[in-house]
Symmetry: C2
Subunit: 347 residues, 2 copies
């Protein structure tokens, strides 16, 4: 009897991923048809061909990829599926683009509970709906137990560029205001708290969310944006360092302007972290022409996803790529790039 005619055996909730689920045979087809397609359903994904054929609106395209190895897979406010969608959607937004399509590449470890895979796929689907993108193509591989860590994901995104002027560190000018779209450090603290088994009176949830709508609103309002960047790995401090170095200008942060919740500030003290270096997954930094800064901030704050937006720094002509912090008591210190990282495998 043909494999195509065979009735697949449905996977039970107690089942686990087998090496053979990645092998191109019947078990792989069953995994894709039973677990992936029903959840991620899109007209482009359906034919299960080698790729998707897309109608894309005219204009320049943004194209970006990101790998996700966050550990643990699940944390308050999200999971690896949520960050995998929002991380790439937000990178497209940072190019001034409207996100349209995503690809989903999975590397599963043999022995992964099917229930965990289902939960992550459901998060991928719901995050994609919330961010208004479609998963149009994908790939699944399985590696032996002990050669992976549950699930690794790569998402790659395509968007159509809506920004009319180029964005980038090379467009940053002295005098630019630096806005952040919300409170900082929640994502990293949420993941670290689970990893370290810490329980706070009020659990801290990841800030993981799509930021494209907020960026598109700024663009639609004609705000002169010079550079956009989401402060993920390495947090606000590392992101500003990268931009300052490329722009060869100084970025001076006002400590008192940084939006850090008391919960995150407290958790950072317990964990020995500096919130300036802790990853966000639903925030962005915008370098804005000074004359548009107040308007941009008001627009962000008028949105439910931007209530805590703040003007946190200014670009100064002095210095060659320095980031400095003007402290609450008026001192100034250098905010350096860390050598490694405070937090491994945070995204």
């Amino acid at each position: 009897m043909s494999g195509a005619l065979a009735c697949p055996v449905p996977l039970g909730a107690g089942d686990r991923v087998l090496l053979a689920h990645g092998g191109g045979g019947r078990l792989m087809r069953d995994l894709i048809e039973q677990e992936l397609l029903p959840v991620l359903r899109s007209p482009e994904l359906e034919p299960l061909a080698d790729g998707a054929v897309l109608d894309v609106p005219p204009g320049r395209l943004a194209f970006t990829t990101d790998g996700f190895v966050v550990h643990p897979l699940f944390f308050p406010g999200g999971d690896i599926g949520t960050v995998a969608v929002n991380g790439t959607v937000n990178d497209l937004a940072m190019c001034g683009a409207e996100p349209l399509y995503l690809s989903l590449g999975l590397i599963l470890e043999e022995g992964l509970p099917i229930a965990d895979l289902r939960r992550v796929l459901a998060s991928v689907a719901s995050a994609a709906r919330a961010a208004k993108v479609r998963i149009v193509t994908g790939d699944t591989k399985v590696v032996e137990h002990g050669k992976g860590d549950g699930i690794f994901i790569h998402t790659t995104g395509i968007g159509v560029v809506r920004a009319t002027a180029p964005l980038g560190a090379d467009r940053v000018r002295a005098g630019d205001a630096v806005l952040v779209s919300g409170t900082i450090g929640q994502h990293g603290v949420a993941v670290m708290a689970v990893r370290d088994g810490l329980a706070f009176a009020k659990p801290i949830a990841s800030d993981c969310a799509p930021v494209a709508d907020a960026v598109l609103a700024l663009l639609a309002a004609g705000v002169r944006l010079h550079c956009l960047r989401d402060p993920t790995r390495g947090g606000v401090a590392s992101t500003l360092n990268e931009i300052a170095a490329q722009a060869r200008l100084e970025v001076e942060i006002q400590e008192e302007a940084l939006p850090v919740t008391p919960e995150v500030a407290g958790a950072c003290e317990v964990l020995g972290l500096d919130p300036l270096y802790v990853a966000c997954e639903g925030r962005f930094l915008a370098f804005v022409a000074p004359e548009d800064a107040d308007r941009a901030l008001a627009l962000l704050r008028s949105r439910p996803d931007g209530r805590d937006a703040a003007r946190i720094a200014v670009v100064k002509p002095s210095g060659a790529g320095l980031v400095t912090l003007r402290t609450r008591i008026g001192g100034v210190r250098v905010v350096d790039l860390l050598s490694g990282e405070q937090l491994p495998r945070i995204c």
Copy 2:
């Protein structure tokens, strides 16, 4: 002193990847600036922004992603870098598209020798040049030793569709001829031989290569192609099974027409493999309208990359998704989809 001003310490050949190389700090910047950019250099990659902005020719786009977990990383005829580029380039070609751009996502295991990373990146760069695609965006993550396996790669590709008629299993018709673009089974056998420590008198090299030029030549010649598919995981047998099931038609393979070299046939006997199920990484199957089949085969054979092309099967109206094999002695047997796979982690 600012991180941006610090002179990076060049990585030595004896060095290894550290967890901190994935952390968004100075070590990660050094890894990218010293190891990745000089090798993969492209104008889009250079700004190290969150994504690339691309000018894409008008028309429909093909978009595809693939994960690569091949073990071992290096084998005769290629390495994980070669397959990562050609695998995705070939998936674009299977959509009838001209490959243009690739993204490169790396998941490195802590402790990976920098020399191995360099060798793989050099292969990525040279395979991309050979396939006429540019690496325009990328991402690097590092996981702890024992949580990965050297290098995992995801590549995602964008191409512009050159086929004027839609391609797919649903376009396959009874009477279609099935062509294969060259000898089968080399890639899988090459990898398995290294893994099992087998030495053959004449080493078998992977067939890993880009097939886009051959496909574009068929399209340019106006050959009526109905479906294209590259027989990677699961080999020719699994690929034909997928298509037969979707088309609800029977595919009858002529055993004597299958291009298998004596070396691969011999190695398959030693390894206990059936070459019909062994992965190729530089071959494609074309379902062609019968009246164009001779011309298509002649065109393929006139090319250096298609000397061994063959007409291996015909589509028959009978059957509901069966693949059958007409043997050398005239018998007919069903060629089923395997449950799992003969060869784990072959790509």
